[in-house]
């Protein structure tokens, strides 16, 4: 993954990332891989804010960010890139400003829209990896279809109440999102109960999955779904399977 034109590390970057360059298996090569990577995050809300913060902090070179609408008071319990002073103004502006405060070297491609059938191809074409943080299954399934078509890895993160789930889709090797959820489930409601600490926990883990896929260091949750409940701290990992009749990655697709 080398979409960034200048993956060399400056002396300043060596300093900024010195705590992680010494992680076994990471080193300068891993750090240059992060600098050379372009990651799509959609949306940049409760989950995506934390994914974006962690990837910006880790030194990913470029983030492609899609999120529509203006900052609402009800965003502020979990959407850590939104600020009180930005209520009523575009969320994506708050996101970009906060990320650049943390990492001014970060390159961003920001879109003040959520993922749609019209923009998904262009967004994925700009990206080496996708982190799906969207609340609507229509958006998630659009990104999944494009990820499979372009063989772009996609980290899937989700949350509910005090619970969260995470898996990493490696097209051609693992089940895709449609193998797990073939259709938009009728019982799903856009607004659901959740704490910011829950979206933050799975956002951090999703960022780590992205870092592992980009650098090749560690084992991502490929073909496995991590599911956990912070109410009783039960963590389970489930082996997931490709559906032979999957409308996206199955043999008939």
């Amino acid at each position: 993954m080398t979409s960034h034109p200048d993956p060399e590390l400056s002396a300043h970057e060596q300093d900024v990332y010195s705590w992680q360059i010494t992680v076994p298996g990471h080193g300068d090569a891993g750090q240059m891989a992060l600098k050379g990577a372009s990651v799509l995050i959609s949306r940049v809300g409760g989950l995506g804010s934390v994914v974006a913060l962690e990837l910006a902090a880790a030194g990913v070179g470029r983030l492609v960010l899609a999120h529509g609408g203006d900052v609402q008071p009800s965003d502020l319990n979990r959407q850590l890139l939104m600020t009180h002073d930005w209520i009523g103004k575009p969320r994506i502006e708050s996101v970009e400003r906060r990320l650049k405060e943390l990492n001014p070297r970060l390159e961003t491609l920001c879109l003040a829209e959520n993922v749609t059938a019209e923009n998904v191809q262009g967004l994925v074409a700009e990206s080496d990896l996708i982190v799906d943080c969207a609340p609507l299954f229509e958006e998630r399934l659009l990104m999944n279809r494009e990820a499979v078509a372009t063989e772009t890895p996609m980290v899937e993160a989700a949350m509910y109440e005090l619970q969260a789930q995470l898996t990493t889709i490696l097209p051609g090797r693992t089940p895709c999102l449609a193998c797990i959820t073939p259709h938009s489930p009728p019982a799903w409601k856009r607004r659901f109960p959740v704490f910011g600490a829950v979206s933050g926990s799975v956002g951090c883990m999703a960022a780590m999955e992205a870092i592992k896929v980009i650098t090749g260091n560690g084992e991502p949750l490929a073909g496995k779904l991590l599911t956990y409940d912070l109410r009783d701290m039960r963590f389970l990992t489930i082996g997931i399977q490709r559906r032979p009749d999957c409308p996206v990655c199955g043999s008939a697709s």
Partner: protein, 95 residues
């Protein structure tokens, strides 16, 4: 024979419990065990949970089912072994 069910996500909230232990007839199949589990819950819980799990006696296609740690696809209805653990989750998303 004894089985353990673990409800996740919206199912956990609807069921009002994370874990349910079932005493099932030998040779019970997955969908029948789910029918029994739902029937054994208090009426209001059963009513809330049923449409998230079963429609017209078939498992909802978006339901994630794992038997002893491995996903069972929607068209599978395996016979369960004594001591098996089922984990069930409805789909959840970001936001």
């Amino acid at each position: 024979m004894k089985l353990t069910l673990e409800w996740m996500s919206q199912l956990r909230v609807a069921a009002g419990t994370a874990l349910q232990v079932l005493d099932c007839p030998d040779g019970v199949q997955l969908t029948e065990a789910l029918e029994q589990a739902i029937a054994e819950l208090p009426d209001d819980r059963s009513e809330a949970l049923r449409p998230l799990v079963l429609v017209d006696g078939r498992r909802v296609s978006a339901l994630l089912v794992a038997l002893d740690g491995v996903q069972v696809l929607t068209d599978g209805n395996p016979e369960l072994r004594p001591g098996s653990t089922l984990v069930l989750s409805s789909p959840i998303a970001g936001g």
